[in-house]
């Protein structure tokens, strides 16, 4: 298993989610984060105070996937999140030692396999 961590533009989140769901990637966690990635600093003025905002708003998406799902996941994110301007973000792929699904106690591959729809609906 791998953990795919993507840092993307907030305004691209909806596109990325749509692309991931198209690619059958259904389990993910997001965080609103701030970061610096070499983009031009944004300048703001408040009366006589001028400030350079060194950190920009980003969204971090974390997705635990089975090995053969890494490539489709990464491709979906790249396709959806790219604008071509500095500040599009990064994707990190990391090894994962162990995964548990809390509801059932399933482990590893079974724990990151999407739940069939009838189970999710509680039938």
């Amino acid at each position: 298993m791998k953990l795919v961590v993507a840092v993307i533009r907030p305004e691209k989140l909806a596109d990325v989610l749509e692309a991931l769901f198209h690619a059958q990637v259904l389990g993910l966690t997001i965080n609103r984060v701030q970061g610096h990635g070499g983009e031009t600093d944004r300048v703001e003025n408040y009366r006589g105070t001028t400030v350079k905002m060194e950190l920009s708003e980003k969204v971090r998406v974390e997705i635990g996937v089975s090995d053969h799902f890494v490539e489709p996941t990464v491709n979906a994110i790249i396709r959806a999140a790219r604008t071509g301007v500095v500040g599009d973000g990064k994707i990190f792929v990391m090894p994962v030692e162990k995964v548990y699904r809390i509801r059932t106690g399933e482990e590893d591959q079974a724990a990151v396999t999407p739940v069939p729809e009838e189970v999710a609906a509680g039938r």
Partner: protein
């Protein structure tokens, strides 16, 4: 008594009272979130502490007969202030209307000392200032004192309220000293929307402040009302253009500031100048305040919310321009420089200088006196933590997460995290 006048003055009094909480929002949006409640409370406290002391003593010092410099004690505890006519309205209503001016004037000063003053010291200072600085200056101009006899024009309080508060703010900022990390870190407004909301409500209330100063529902009130609409509009336009020229962007903080500066500037002139003069006055008044504010930010003077630039400079420019644009054709009594009476400008300057000198020296003395009893500043830790928690024991934006309910003695204490924030004991 005239029914229409009574009705308009009842409304005006409520309008001016609303300006103080509005100022709280105007200022509150400009500070960091950890000081939002403290900044609001600095205005709110004036409603209570000045409201009461005005009725007890302040009104007498300002409006009782007395001498050229201060009223006597004949109106102490509102003695002789009843329902008999004062002009065309009940004396009691006149007292209430004037009280709302004392309240907002003191609250204005708080902008210079936010985010660092100990709240108990502030309460002592604001009460004393309303009695011993505001009331005498009000007496000079409106209570039959020496500036009134000299013929200084101040329709609604450009000198009494704004120049006076601006001078006090300058001294208070110097005595208190800059905030921790001032000049090393950027302090950004935490809620610009509050600031714009506050400025809008100030403008609304200001119709009572300026048009109510006619003390009647008459032609003079209508002139002041119209000018209160037009002058800030011109300042807002000029401020926006200056913003666009300087940074290429029209800022909301700038728009809110511009509105307030325009209102300050038209205050002394409201019932004395024509509508086109009001537009000229409003546009002109933007320029000195705009650059004063830019210049101040580069100095060590931490007049945190620019009371000096907005009220001191704006009030001074407005009072001087009153002496330029005043027109007998509109006010029926006196002309300014443009209409062949250059002497009026000199009278205006004397009134401004007198208010600045008295307010600055008096504020210094009062702050030193209060400082002998209570330290003026919150200690450095309290300042770092934020004055909301350290001075008031509450937060403007509490999440409620991790708050454990403390039960009254005798009941079993709970270890379950409570959804509600515990009120009596502050933070858990």
């Amino acid at each position: 008594m005239v029914g229409a006048d009574v009705a308009w003055m009842l409304v005006s009094t409520a309008l001016v009272l609303l300006m103080t909480p509005a100022l709280g929002f105007f200022y509150g949006g400009l500070v960091r979130s950890k000081n939002a409640l403290n900044t609001l409370m600095m205005s709110v406290a004036a409603l209570g502490f000045v409201g009461v002391t005005w009725a007890v003593l302040g009104y007498s010092l300002a409006f009782a007969p007395g001498g050229a410099f201060v009223g006597d004690l004949s109106r102490l505890f509102l003695a002789g202030v009843g329902l008999e006519p004062q002009g065309t309205i009940p004396h009691l209503l006149f007292m209430a209307y004037q009280g709302t001016f004392a309240i907002i004037t003191v609250a204005l000063i708080s902008g210079a000392i936010v985010e660092r003053m100990r709240f108990s010291a502030y309460l002592a200072f604001l009460t004393l200032w309303a009695l011993f600085i505001y009331a005498p200056v009000a007496h000079w101009v409106w209570g039959g004192g020496w500036l009134a006899r000299m013929g200084a024009l101040d329709f609604a309080g450009g000198t009494v309220v704004h120049v006076n508060a601006g001078a006090a703010a300058l001294v208070a900022a110097l005595v208190l000293g800059p905030r921790k990390d001032y000049g090393r870190q950027a302090f950004l407004p935490h809620n610009v929307a509050f600031t714009v909301l506050g400025a809008g409500l100030l403008w609304f209330g200001w119709f009572g402040f300026n048009a109510g100063s006619a003390l009647a529902a008459n032609a003079s009130a209508s002139l002041a009302f119209t000018n209160t609409m037009l002058a800030p509009a011109a300042t807002l336009v000029m401020w926006t253009l200056l913003d666009l020229a300087r940074t290429g962007k029209a800022t909301a903080v700038g728009a809110a500031t511009g509105m307030v500066v325009g209102l300050v500037a038209i205050t002394p002139a409201a019932g004395f100048v024509g509508p086109m003069a009001a537009i000229a006055l409003g546009g002109l008044a933007a320029i000195p305040s705009y650059y004063a504010l830019l210049w101040r930010a580069r100095t060590r003077l931490d007049d945190s919310l620019d009371v000096v630039a907005a009220h001191g400079v704006g009030g001074t420019v407005g009072a001087l321009l009153t002496g330029v644009f005043a027109s007998k054709a509109w006010n029926g009594t006196v002309d300014g420089l443009l209409y062949g009476n250059p002497g009026q400008l000199g009278t205006q300057a004397v009134a401004i200088l007198a208010a600045i000198a008295y307010s600055a020296v008096g504020t210094l003395i009062l702050l030193k006196l209060v400082g002998l009893v209570i330290p003026l500043r919150a200690d450095a830790n309290a300042e770092g933590l934020g004055l909301d928690i350290s001075q008031h024991g509450e937060e403007a934006y509490a999440s409620g997460e991790g708050a454990i309910l403390i039960l009254p003695k005798g009941e079993a204490s709970s270890s379950v995290p409570a959804v509600m924030v515990e009120a009596a004991g502050g933070r858990a």
